[in-house]
């Protein structure tokens, strides 16, 4: 049963200076839904998902996350951020903290978990992403794929309701992409709401409930995977799919 709306985006407009980066975005995401966002470079995909946890401010419209309306209020923002985790393209692990400390920092200081509990959970998550043996290394001692799996484990450590992924595999060498995608596929069965910006169409076909195509700051088309790939409505999407699938 996927009934509750967990993210409601209404009439969101955002400008960088004079540049209209998001143009009247409307989007509702249901609890547990897995959404893949794709589109050409510069179309506003990152900007959109970064608005959801207020890493970017927007000038018009409203976003409600799990019943909390996004405002400038610092308390509200922190409240939302404690429920929404994010995985970045270039990992953004904390280089001066060991892997395990990267994972336990937020649980201990933001969620008031005890150190033992946080450690236990961190180790079990590292086990799940297949790198328990690297727990006491520093991020720079790991490969890109391993670092990104640490980043995913770190994002999961706070038991988020929503996970945002911004091109999690595009900074990785080809042979490491699948190890990260495997973890994400595994995650998609958990019931966590996921918003993924990615160009991995295989992944999208496999797990997405809905795929969103963006261009020039607008949502051009959205559909469930089958229709999205086989019966694209707009010429723009057809062109995009041609380009991306013939690569």
């Amino acid at each position: 049963m996927k009934t509750n709306d967990i993210i409601t985006i209404k009439g969101v407009n955002k400008w960088y200076g004079d540049f209209h980066a998001l143009n009247d975005i409307n989007l509702t995401v249901k609890e547990g839904e897995i959404i893949v966002i794709c589109g050409p470079s510069g179309s506003g995909k990152s900007t959109l998902i970064r608005c959801v946890n207020f890493l970017e401010k927007f000038q018009e419209g409203s976003i409600v996350v799990d019943g909390i309306k996004l405002t400038d209020n610092v308390k509200k923002i922190r409240q939302i951020r404690s429920e929404v985790s994010m995985v970045f393209q270039c990992f953004n692990l904390f280089p001066h903290l060991s892997v395990i400390n990267n994972l336990t920092l937020a649980p201990i200081w933001v969620h008031n978990t005890t150190k033992q509990e946080a450690n236990k959970k961190a180790l079990s998550l590292l086990d799940r992403v297949g790198i328990k043996d690297q727990a006491y290394k520093y991020p720079n001692q790991l490969s890109g794929g391993q670092q990104q799996r640490v980043a995913i484990a770190r994002a999961l450590c706070t038991s988020p309701k929503i996970m945002l992924f911004d091109e999690p595999t595009s900074a990785l060498d080809p042979e490491m992409i699948s190890e990260v995608l495997d973890v994400m596929v595994d995650l998609s069965k958990e019931g966590i709401t996921m918003l993924c910006v990615t160009h991995e169409m295989g992944f999208a076909k496999k797990v997405a409930d809905r795929i969103i195509f963006m261009d020039e700051g607008q949502i051009i088309e959205q559909n469930e995977p089958n229709t999205f790939f086989n019966n694209p409505e707009s010429d723009r999407l057809r062109l995009f799919l041609d380009q991306i699938l013939t690569q």
């Binding site: 922190r78 404690s82 929404v84 953004n92 904390f94 937020a106 991020p139």
Partner: protein
């Protein structure tokens, strides 16, 4: 088709060693190199022999009075006779054990910190040491009636001891102030940012001498008359005000070098501003700034010699003072050379330590 046969790994080829290959590689590898090397050798030839002759070969190490001593070269017995003055100033002889003990405590710090390295409570212990140490240092050097430690007024302090006190207090006190100023300069709150920028830019525009004069003349005006405002304390405040502006700029450079992604990752994790600053940003920013921080401290250490102009007897002032002894007229050069050697050695140690520190932070991650 040829079959792949794995090759044995071999030891790496020996690099050429020996004086000859070293000199050809580093001193005479091109025409310009040859010219520069010869010029450098010529300068050394001009400077070194007379210097060594004055300091060592013709110098007099044994003569006990000025009259017996040679006039042509150094008379080192003079330094030996004035050694206490150079080290402790007018600090009473029978109380020398106090600065000595403090020095021993300070030096053992390095070992204590190393010993605690792997203990789970190391941060708390370090913090405790950091708070207790200045108190202990103050009671030991200045004294305390209640504890039965005889009070030695600061105008009796002097020499190397005072130089180190001024430099250490300047370093330790300016560091946290510098951090706050650097953070303030990046703050989104306009007033805080404006005040930080104004402070930093004004102080950096004024020479230390002027600040020392102002601190020694103007500070007492702010306080009710009758309170005897210690001269050394005034100098320390002046130096701390000065140094914190420079440290702030150094740390700001480090803050700017921390990638934007680190700020974002900390925000996304839900950390508060203070948590983000303390756990994520400052550790990385400070690590980046270590070489510049040490550089700035070395500059401060040298600048402390300026306190002599407001009548505080640091080591350089002692070199001047000691010449007023009628038994040892005309021995100023020896004093100044001695001070130069001591200060240079300390600064060299400091910069070696900073190198070691950088290395240690680097291997960690």
């Amino acid at each position: 088709m040829s079959i792949f046969t794995p090759k044995q790994s071999r030891p790496s080829p020996k690099t050429q060693v020996g004086i000859l290959s070293w000199t050809t590689k580093y001193l005479f590898s091109s025409k310009i190199d040859i010219a520069l090397s010869l010029f450098a050798f010529y300068l050394l030839y001009l400077i070194l022999p007379p210097l060594l002759d004055w300091m060592i070969f013709s110098a007099d190490f044994s003569a006990k009075t000025n009259a017996e001593c040679t006039r042509e070269a150094a008379c080192w017995f003079y330094i030996g006779e004035k050694m206490n003055l150079f080290m402790y100033g007018m600090y009473p002889l029978e109380e020398y054990w106090r600065p000595n003990l403090l020095l021993a405590i300070t030096l053992s710090f390095a070992f204590i910190v190393r010993l605690l390295r792997f203990q789970p409570y190391k941060n708390k212990a370090a913090l405790a040491l950091f708070i207790i140490y200045p108190v202990v240092a103050f009671f030991l050097l200045y004294g305390n009636d209640f504890l039965g430690i005889k009070i030695v007024e600061t105008d009796q302090w002097g020499g190397l001891m005072l130089t180190i006190v001024v430099a250490l207090v300047g370093i330790v006190a300016s560091f946290p102030i510098g951090i706050f100023l650097a953070l303030g300069r990046q703050s989104r709150m306009e007033i805080i940012r404006f005040l930080s920028i104004a402070y930093i830019e004004i102080i950096r525009g004024i020479p230390l001498i002027t600040i020392l004069f102002m601190a020694s003349v103007m500070l007492p005006l702010f306080f009710t008359e009758g309170i005897n405002f210690d001269k050394l304390l005034r100098a320390l405040i002046g130096i701390t005000l000065f140094q914190s502006a420079y440290i702030a700029e150094v740390i700001r450079g480090g803050l700017q070098a921390v990638p934007k992604g680190q700020y974002e990752a900390a925000d996304v994790a839900g950390l508060s501003f203070i948590q983000k600053t303390v756990f994520i940003i400052l550790p990385q920013a400070l690590k980046i700034s270590i070489p510049n921080i040490v550089g700035s401290f070395i500059a401060l250490f040298k600048d402390t010699t300026l306190v002599l102009i407001i009548g505080i007897f640091d080591m350089l002032a002692i070199a001047e003072l000691a010449t007023s002894d009628i038994n040892w007229m005309g021995r100023k050069t020896e004093g100044i050379v001695f001070v130069a050697i001591v200060l240079w050695s300390l600064l060299y140690l400091m910069s070696r330590y900073s190198k070691a520190l950088e290395g240690r932070f680097n291997t960690q991650y």
